[in-house]
């Protein structure tokens, strides 16, 4: 950028400094200009003139405040119930309320004029659109958790099957606790057979119910989300299964290796027998050569051989 005839490099920092000074001078000049515009708008507002209003109507302001509080409550609820996952059970009330608040914003009409309702000024008048973003985030989370799956149709409270499942889940947890109580914590992992034996019934029931719910769900639903159960149920089952299979090591042992090896080696042996016997007993297929009718000349043979000599 520097002109090629520039003799000394010391000039460059000086130039930069000068530019900086220029920018600094421009800065303060801008702020008063903004303030001026704001004042102008306020004057216009008090004069009852239409303009880009810097202030919300009071009704809208209260709606916005309600939404803010609702989203804070929901966020808190979601955060607190993140592990172990109890989102759908604990937060569906908050979520429903927030939905209602958002709806009332989206539908509310301010009293000044048709074109200046709350929906417009809250939801769409700036680039960030924070209210929309928040509500989208909550909706997406709810969708991803697939909570609708374990709530009643009107989403007031848990559905019957979920209640039943959670009931069984609690029962099995109690069973695990009960059976582990007498034992020391630092037991080696293969000493959990007591638990496996005693809680097998409850666990199997729980597992079956879960599989049943999953099957029902898969038959009923079409969309991608409905392939999953709601996150609460899934997580509860995951925890139980992990306890059962990993911690207590109750999953099925690798059994009957000997018969499997016997049967498979028998089957693998068959082709060898087949190929050997067909090699030894089958008559090899012979081809009958046909003598072509062709001129035979020495030239022919010589021609070909020439190429290799």
């Amino acid at each position: 950028m520097a002109p090629p005839w520039c003799p000394c490099r010391a000039l460059l920092p000086a130039l930069a400094l000068a530019l900086l000074g220029l920018a600094a001078a421009a800065g303060p000049r801008q702020t008063p200009a903004l303030e001026l515009a704001q004042e102008l708008a306020e004057e216009l507002w008090s004069a009852g003139l239409p303009g880009d209003l810097p202030e919300l109507e009071p009704e809208c302001r209260s709606l916005l405040a309600a939404f803010a509080e609702g989203s804070a409550a929901l966020t808190g609820c979601l955060g607190r119930r993140a592990r172990p996952v109890r989102l759908c059970q604990g937060c569906h009330g908050h979520y429903r309320r927030l939905l209602a608040q958002y709806d009332s914003i989206a539908r509310a009409v301010g009293n000044s004029s048709e074109s200046h309702n709350c929906a417009k000024s809250i939801l769409t008048s700036d680039r960030l659109q924070i209210v929309v973003t928040l509500s989208e985030f909550f909706n997406e989370t709810w969708e991803a958790a697939n909570c609708a799956n374990c709530l009643k149709n009107n989403s007031e409270g848990l559905s019957n099957s979920t209640e039943e499942f959670l009931d069984l889940f609690n029962k099995s947890l109690t069973c695990f606790e009960h059976n582990l109580q007498g034992q020391a914590i630092d037991l080696s992992p293969n000493n959990y057979t007591e638990v496996c034996k005693n809680c097998n019934e409850t666990y199997t029931k729980l597992n079956d119910l879960y599989n049943h719910l999953q099957r029902m769900n898969r038959q009923g639903g079409e969309s991608a989300h409905s392939a999953h159960l709601c996150i609460d149920v899934e997580d509860a089952m995951n925890i139980t299964r992990k306890l059962w299979s990993r911690t207590f090591n109750c999953s099925l042992p690798c059994s009957d290796t000997v018969p499997v090896i016997a049967v498979s080696s028998f089957i693998l042996f068959l082709p060898i027998v087949f190929y050997l016997s067909s090699f030894l007993h089958s008559k090899q297929k012979k081809r009958i050569l046909i003598l072509p009718k062709r001129i035979q000349s020495n030239a022919n043979l010589v021609n070909i051989q020439e190429k290799y000599s």
Binding site: L289, L301, Y308
Partner: protein
């Protein structure tokens, strides 16, 4: 360095009566080697004949062409388009049928086996599940193999070699019959359901060709129905054009690759090609993929979604991770080298196996038993692999169709089972798209190894099944393994996505086995739906082909050669310039005179030792010992029609009411001309004369004796000839060049080789 013994055979086989002018060239040769030899690759079978791609331009033909006016030609053109549309629609429907039936039957089988395994895992006694699985597979494959072995053996295999031969101009018996189509479709369904390491894509190409050949004729000789339409197209020339359209439609239905289909036809049958034909074939391909698409969308419940264009859908490759950078190109090329080597190994193993099969397992019942054994072993290997695998993956969030738990913890499935306990198509897509970490390297390694041998063992069985999908699967498995190790080496860089390498590995393996270039690149590109992959796929296929060709030739060419088909390659062998037509031709030639005695014709046709199809017609000359000037060429099929209709000179004089023979009479007999034995000629009629001048082709192609082999070859290949008469400077017939005379010369390992003719 050369032993002359390899060429001695040429001399030993010659025992011809020669004309005066060439007798002095004959040498004394030791006679009669043992003429029964075991099958080998250096044979040409007499079973195969050429197609008559060149029109016989006789008087009847010229008269008919003159009668057809301009408007009628336009109707013919419109009919061609209608036929192409019908080819596309029917091919698409057949593909849908195969897809739906396979999906349901395979689903049923896997559910039954899965329930059984689940039951016996808890109770013990898994060997029963193994037996159940193996028995189910073996019995399904038995049915599939029975119908192929006993009803229509030509329906075995993928059908691509056969169609390649057909487009090359070789008439493979039964290859485009309705019966073949039925057996092919049922056979494919049964072999895929039977759990063999096969795919249903290759056979689609054959099916499309049969459909094309059937529709374009407007009748079915198998069903004895003649719809009296499209009679104009009843000859080899037209039929072959439609067959190439059918092959393209088949490719397009199989892979959802209409352009790839057109290029496949171009690559395999390109010597007879023009722009209009290309455009028509493209039309047929598009219609075919569109039909498949819309019917499958209705079947899957989202009508008119049109998002499943082929039997195999590679899924979408457009996420961020699937991109590639210039640094990866050397890696892809390296994968191409690996694919070429593995492909060559596959082909070499399959070569030995096929040779063994041709020599020893030629009885149909043995072939059925072999197929059953392969099916049972495939199931067993799969079961043992699953049983021994300790690779468990969480079931949550994965898209496994039939998750097998076995000894995994609850909520997890056996990862080996996704590869083995599934139809191969689904396994391929899983390997492409499952998120990183779904497969353990050990699992993939064992799977690649086992599947490689299984697929190699399976190809060439007497079942109808293709090799595309197994190759893709092998390649995808080692490609994914490669990708995993790469990301391990680079400490988990974002660009080392195993799915991408699985795709490149699949391309490399397939290219290394079948050695297709242009069409395969486009097919892969269209199947992935990502044009930017064109470049790496091209590089991979190119490398795989170069490396593979260094060792052995492609699988299809190898099988064509093992079948002893007289296949003409693009060009004559490079070192063949010193050979001339004189050395190549067959001589002496059985000639007919222009007005010939019926008895002579019948005797010549019934002679079993010389199964000639074309006879040069020479000027009637009282002196029969002298070879007279060439006047035309007549085909066996024409002679048979003439004999059947008793077009004798004497009869024409006797009864004027007898109508003149028309071109239609020849067409009605096409393509199954009756054998000469079925035509009865009485003793009196033998003395009649037959006038051939109206029916022969008066302007056959001829070459002088001095023409070089490459020149003869070029003429033959470019015009699609069946007979090429060799004449001397007095226009007297000295010899005849046919397809087998040219296909004999081949460039082998040690230079120019000559194949021998054999009865098979």
């Amino acid at each position: 360095q050369l032993t002359p013994s390899s060429f001695l055979r040429i001399g030993q086989l010659s025992n011809v009566d020669l004309n005066e002018d060439i007798r002095e060239l004959e040498t004394e040769v030791p006679r009669q080697r043992p003429n029964e030899i075991p099958h080998n690759e250096k044979l040409l079978s007499l079973k195969y004949e050429s197609l008559d791609y060149d029109n016989s331009e006789n008087q009847l033909f010229l008269e008919e062409e003159r009668r057809i006016n301009h408007a009628a030609f336009r109707t013919v053109e419109i009919k061609r388009w209608v036929i192409c549309a019908m080819i596309g629609i029917l091919t698409g429907l057949v593909a849908c049928f195969i897809d739906i039936v396979v999906e349901n039957l395979a689903g049923l089988k896997y559910r039954v086996v899965k329930d059984n395994i689940d039951k016996f895992t808890a109770k013990g006694g898994l060997s029963f599940s193994l037996l159940l699985w193996a028995t189910l597979n073996a019995s399904v494959v038995m049915v599939g193999s029975l119908i192929v072995a006993f009803i229509e053996p030509v329906a075995a295999g993928s059908g691509i070699p056969q169609i390649k031969c057909y487009l090359n101009g070789v008439k493979i018996p039964h290859v485009v019959r309705l019966k073949t189509l039925v057996i092919k479709v049922c056979g494919v369904i049964l072999s895929v359901v039977g759990g063999l390491a096969v795919g249903k894509e290759g056979p689609m190409i054959h099916s499309g060709s049969v459909i094309a050949a059937g529709i374009s004729q407007g009748r079915s000789t198998s069903l004895k129905r003649d719809f009296k339409i499209f009679e104009y197209f009843r000859r080899d020339t037209e039929k072959r054009d439609f067959v190439s359209a059918g092959a393209a439609a088949g490719v397009s239905a199989a892979f959802g690759a209409p352009v790839g289909g057109v290029l496949f036809s171009l690559e395999e049958g390109a010597s007879f090609w023009n722009q209009f034909l290309t455009w028509r074939i493209f039309f047929a391909s598009m219609i075919s993929t569109f039909t498949l698409n819309s019917v499958l969308s209705v079947y899957h419940g989202n009508a008119w979604d049109l998002s499943s264009p082929g039997l195999i859908n590679f899924g979408r490759f457009d996420s961020e991770k699937m991109g590639y950078t210039i640094q990866e190109i050397p890696i892809f090329i390296f994968m191409g080298v690996v694919g070429g080597i593995l492909g060559a190994l596959f082909n070499a193993l399959n070569y030995w196996l096929t040779m063994f099969r041709i020599r020893y397992i030629h009885r149909p019942c043995l072939q059925v038993v072999e197929a059953m054994l392969v099916a049972a072993v495939t199931a067993t290997v799969g079961f043992v692999m699953i049983y021994c695998s300790r690779d468990c993956q969480p079931i949550q969030g994965s898209s496994v169709a039939y998750p097998l738990q076995l000894f995994c913890a609850d909520g997890e499935y056996n990862s080996m089972a996704t590869a083995f306990f599934n139809t191969p198509e689904k396994s391929v897509v899983n390997l492409f798209h499952d998120p990183p970490g779904s497969y353990n390297p050990m699992t993939l390694g064992m799977f690649t190894l086992m599947y490689f041998f299984l697929a190699c063992w399976t190809y060439g069985l007497t079942v109808s099944a293709g090799v595309f999908i197994p190759s893709l699967l092998i390649g995808a498995a080692w490609g994914r393994l490669f990708g995993i190790s790469l990301s391990y080496l680079t400490k988990g860089s974002i660009w080392a996505d195993p799915g991408k390498y699985a795709l490149m590995g699949a391309a490399a393996q397939l290219g290394g086995i079948v050695r297709m270039t242009l069409s395969l690149t486009v097919i892969m590109m269209e199947a992935t739906g990502n044009v930017t992959y064109g470049f790496p796929i091209m590089l991979v296929l190119m490398t795989a082909k170069i490396v593979g060709d260094y060792f052995v030739e492609g699988l299809y060419d190898m099988h064509i050669q093992l079948q002893s088909v007289p296949f003409l390659h693009w060009e004559a062998p490079v070192t063949s310039h010193s050979l001339t037509a004189r050395e190549v031709m067959s001589t002496p030639v059985t000639c007919l005179r222009r007005i010939e005695r019926v008895g002579t014709v019948v005797d010549i046709l019934s002679d079993t030792s010389s199964n000639h199809n074309g006879f040069p017609v020479v000027e009637s000359n009282p002196d029969t010992t002298q070879v007279a000037g060439l006047r035309g060429l007549i085909l066996r099929s024409q002679l048979i029609v003439l004999l059947k209709h008793k077009v004798f000179v004497e009869r024409a004089n006797l009864s004027l009411v007898q109508r003149r023979l028309k071109l239609k009479d020849f067409r009605d007999a096409y393509p199954r001309f009756p054998p000469i034995q079925s035509i009865h000629v009485s003793q009196d009629e033998r003395e009649c004369m037959i006038d051939l001048s109206e029916f022969m082709n008066p302007s056959p192609y001829t070459v002088p004796q001095e023409a070089s082999l490459p020149r003869v070859f070029k003429l033959f290949r470019a015009l699609g000839l069946r007979h090429l008469v060799v004449v001397d400077n007095r226009n007297e017939v000295v010899g005849m060049v046919t397809r087998k005379d040219l296909a004999r010369y081949r460039l082998g390992k040690e230079g120019l080789e000559e194949l021998s003719l054999a009865q098979t």
